[in-house]
């Protein structure tokens, strides 16, 4: 009878092996997909018990912090209120995370370093979130929001360090307060507010026609390809036919033959439309892509919270390649013809010129710091693309300086600091009188430290009068 008993033990052995196998299946092989299953409340409950890291501005101001209640559950607070609602977003158990809170979720929950985590688990240490230090500047951000709100209903501003890509200002009005968004009905009401759309970060979403600020892109392509030089003359007559339709200059002013540098300073539409037509769609596409058009920016921000800057002519009414037959290359070259650019994209255009043709990847995060103050990770500057030759950058800078010195952008001038810039005034559907005003620029022109883009929607007037002073104040505040 002993033989069947030993066989029986073998069966028991196999059964236990199967149990171990099944346990391994769930704890190892399927663990990851189960942990991230949407119906699984476990991660969420656990996350509430982890002290989520603090998010700080460049000067150390606390933007977001977690405080613990009597039950040991953490709640998120935003001491700066609406100021950084758009770049930083919010994090609540019932709403999830948005924006930077979402992009840096793993770091904020202390889950970035698996080895440390396992080790800490072994010694029984409670998981703690890391802090995120951003490059955002509260003073300039406040100034940008206030000044845009003074001029128009909505608008946005972005300021970058062209040398590193660090985002200093990301302002969008109307704003929302991340502290109250978790209250009952507030989020739903904000989502339904079609008039103000307070949750839209206009700095990176839903681009609009950049108007004449786009002439910097056209000028860069013209000079970098060697087709033109700043002193090349082009016919600046009013109502030159572009794609068969006469194009008007501002105030229907006729300039006659005019050199490229003066044409940029005076923002002559017909000149740059013709330059664009001569360069052709493939060249324009090439330079637009180098500047970052046609794809979402490599920002440390959730991809689905950003829009790519594209050309979307009507017809067909959706984004197409700049080489598409629907594109009116002349009008696109002056920032019209269905072109939709975000303020971040236009700030990157200014930054590329400012940094000698090297475009740096934009980033909001400066570094990740653990609870003991040790820097866990530093976001080192990285090149996004080489847009133009340094000589081209120098020539375009010279042209942009002229815009601020004696062109349409004189209101951007800062006493004692040379500013380079370009104004933009894009017609909107409201009619000729109401425009989207733009200004892009950088300063100081010889050693740029700040590049900026400002836009305000539905303003009766020109970019030089309304957007340029805002850009000037932001740059001045950041250069101080």
């Amino acid at each position: 009878m002993n033989k069947p008993i030993s066989r029986l033990f073998l069966v028991a052995l196999l059964m236990f092996a199967a149990l171990l196998g099944a346990t391994s299946w769930w704890t190892v092989l399927r663990a990851d997909s189960l942990d991230h299953s949407t119906a699984n409340a476990r991660t969420l409950i656990r996350a509430q018990k982890i002290r989520r890291g603090t998010i700080r501005a460049a000067d150390g101001t606390v933007i977001a912090r977690s405080t613990r209640d009597a039950e040991g559950v953490y709640h998120r607070r935003y001491p700066t209120g609406a100021l950084f609602g758009h770049p930083v977003g919010y994090s609540y158990a019932n709403l999830g995370q948005t924006e930077l809170e979402r992009y840096r979720n793993d770091a904020l929950l202390g889950m970035t370093n698996a080895i440390t985590t396992t080790f800490e688990q072994l010694i029984g240490k409670q998981k703690e979130g890391d802090d995120v230090r951003t490059s955002l500047d509260p003073k300039a951000q406040r100034l940008a929001l206030d000044e845009i709100a003074k001029v128009g209903q909505s608008g946005a501003a972005v300021a970058l360090d062209p040398r590193t890509g660090a985002v200093k200002v990301m302002a969008s009005t109307p704003t929302y307060d991340p502290n109250t968004i978790a209250n009952k009905g507030v989020l739903a009401a904000a989502n339904k507010d079609e008039q103000r759309k307070p949750l839209v970060n206009r700095a990176v979403q839903f681009g609009a026609a950049p108007g004449s600020t786009f002439k910097v892109v056209t000028a860069t392509a013209a000079i970098d390809t060697g087709t033109y030089s700043p002193s090349s003359t082009v016919d600046g007559t009013n109502d030159v036919k572009v794609s068969g339709v006469p194009l008007a200059n501002d105030f229907n002013q006729s300039f006659g033959p005019i050199d490229l540098k003066t044409a940029l300073a005076k923002s002559v539409n017909t000149v740059f439309a013709q330059v664009g037509e001569k360069l052709g769609k493939p060249t324009m596409k090439e330079y637009m892509e180098r500047f970052g058009f046609d794809s979402k920016p490599p920002l440390d921000y959730p991809k689905d919270s950003m829009s790519a800057s594209v050309v979307a002519p009507s017809p067909p009414g959706h984004a197409v390649s700049p080489t598409s037959k629907f594109v009116d290359v002349g009008r696109m070259s002056i920032g019209q013809g269905g072109l939709q650019a975000t303020p971040l994209q236009m700030a990157q255009v200014a930054a590329a010129v400012a940094n000698g043709g090297q475009l740096m990847k934009p980033h909001i995060t400066d570094r990740i710091v653990d609870r003991d103050g040790r820097t866990v990770d530093t976001i080192s500057p990285a090149k996004q693309s080489t847009v133009m030759k340094p000589s081209t950058a120098a020539a375009v800078t010279d042209m942009m300086v002229a815009v601020v010195q004696n062109g349409t952008g004189t209101k951007a001038a800062i006493p004692g600091i040379q500013v380079a810039g370009k104004t933009g005034t894009a017609e909107t559907e409201f009619g000729a009188k109401v425009n989207d005003v733009w200004f892009i620029g950088f300063a100081p022109a010889d050693h740029p430290r700040i590049a900026v883009a400002v836009t305000v929607k539905a303003v009766t007037g020109f970019g030089g009068d309304f957007a340029a002073p805002i850009a000037r104040d932001i740059m001045e505040s950041l250069l101080k």
């Binding site: 008993i5 769930w26 704890t27 119906a39 699984n40 656990r46 039950e71």
Partner: protein, 454 residues
């Protein structure tokens, strides 16, 4: 070193485990309170628990030492290890339950001692009462039918505030009966049959009772509506038939018959087909959100295990309480747990959550060692009854572990049985200590005979 001294020393790891376990639980609680106010509690109370536990175990050990000097030295320490592990895990879930469980251990060890003292002369006198025991066992199984079902199954009876699960005791009664019955008929089952198509068909006279057992276990399935218990009983029965006859064909036919019967019965009992649906699609959103009979418990168990990973979240770190559902901080975790039945059926999921795959592997190893000792005893035993008894008891024990761990890990459809010695439950603790006592009795005789044999 003598067997009894080995047993005594092997109890020390169990006592240490219980001290370390309580210390870990206290530590993690103090961590939550954010202070070191409980430092004294950690060292004093943990060691006190460990010492009390060791004391009780040493008392039981002394009983074994005096009455069964030749018994297997590893069985009792292994069971003590499981018990201490379960106690810490239950304490961590709900300290009130742990106190009750500790009381059950004391009563269980009392019953253990009583069983040994009662049967020390010769446990084979049980054979004389085999029909009485069989009827008693079946009555125990049918008894819950008179009470209201829990989750669709008739498994417990209420005596005052006490909930008794008679199936835990019935499993022992039935094994004793089968061991005795098969000892008598094993020869006849093999030799008196006619062979047909390579399969020995025993005469109906002898085969009849076996068919009756098959019928009983299916009836049981129908009557108490619990697949787990019927798999346990029928599995143990087949294991014993196999050992008694050494005929695989009996097992094959038995499994086929049971599967057929189960298939027919399962379709007619809503609660069993619910369980099978839940088993097939535990993450189905409809089943997941069903108020009853859905897959919420199984899915939560699997999520808890996935959350544990290889090394687990740490002792005392499992997320059990849902903040919103626990009305007050003193509400028992059992009533507002994210994972239903964390202290009984799903204790394995809590263990995997806290100690990970590594802890689960350790636990399964302890069970496997116990099972190995059980079969070893069966092999050493001299007479057929002892062999069959040890085989049956060990098989039913191993199957119980398989049914619940397999259910929690979605290897087989989930049915609620306890994890022996680890889960909370008075009936389970008492019955398993009786089972342990019987195994020790068999082993004492076997090893004594082996020692005195030429």
């Amino acid at each position: 070193m003598s067997a009894r001294n080995r047993e005594l020393f092997a109890l020390i790891p169990a006592a240490l485990l219980i001290s370390a376990g309580f210390a870990a639980v206290f530590l993690s609680r103090d961590d939550l309170l954010g202070g070191l106010s409980g430092t004294n509690q950690i060292s004093n109370v943990s060691l006190t628990y460990g010492a009390i536990f060791l004391g009780i175990c040493v008392a039981a050990h002394l009983v074994v030492r005096l009455t069964l000097p030749n018994a297997d030295p590893y069985l009792f320490p292994l069971a003590a290890l499981l018990a201490s592990f379960g106690l810490v895990e239950i304490y961590r879930i709900d300290d009130g339950l742990a106190r009750l469980q500790a009381q059950w251990f004391v009563i269980g060890l009392g019953l253990f001692t009583a069983t040994i003292l009662l049967l020390r002369r010769d446990y084979r006198k049980l054979e004389n009462y085999r029909y009485l025991i069989a009827i008693g066992g079946i009555l125990l199984l049918i008894l819950p039918r008179g009470f209201s079902p829990v989750n669709g199954a008739y498994l417990s009876i209420q005596i005052g505030s006490l909930s008794v699960q008679p199936a835990e005791f019935a499993k022992i009664a039935i094994v004793i009966f089968l061991a005795s019955y098969l000892r008598d008929t094993r020869q006849l089952l093999v030799t008196a049959g006619r062979r047909f198509a390579g399969i020995t068909i025993p005469p109906l006279k002898h085969f009849g009772p076996m068919l009756a057992i098959w019928g009983t276990s299916l009836l049981l399935l129908f009557f108490i509506r619990d697949i787990g218990s019927s798999v346990m009983f029928f599995g143990a029965f087949l294991a014993m038939v196999y050992v008694a006859t050494d005929r695989l064909s009996f097992v094959v036919v038995g499994v086929a018959l049971f599967a057929l019967g189960a298939y027919l019965v399962a379709g007619h009992i809503g609660h069993i087909s619910d369980r099978i649906d839940a088993w097939q699609n535990p993450f189905d959103p409809i089943l997941l959100n069903k108020a009853s009979g859905g897959s919420y418990q199984l899915a939560q168990g699997l999520w808890a295990q996935a959350d544990g990973g290889v090394l687990g979240q740490g002792f005392g770190q499992a997320v059990l309480r849902i903040a919103g559902q626990c009305a007050t901080p003193t509400t028992s975790t059992v009533n507002c747990s994210l994972l239903p039945a964390p202290h009984t059926d799903f204790i394995y999921a809590v263990i995997v959550n806290e100690l990970g795959l590594v802890g689960a592997a350790g636990l399964l190893c302890v069970y496997l060692l116990l099972v190995q000792r059980g079969f070893k005893i069966a092999m050493l035993a001299r007479d057929s009854f002892s062999k069959l008894l040890a085989t049956g008891l060990t098989s039913v024990f191993a199957l119980q572990v398989f049914v619940i761990v397999g259910g929690v890990t979605k290897l087989i459809p989930l049915t609620g049985v306890t994890l022996p010695f680890v889960s909370y439950g008075g009936s389970s603790v008492l019955a398993n200590f009786v089972l342990l006592a019987l195994l020790l009795l068999v082993s004492d005789r076997a090893r004594r005979d082996a020692a005195t044999a030429p």
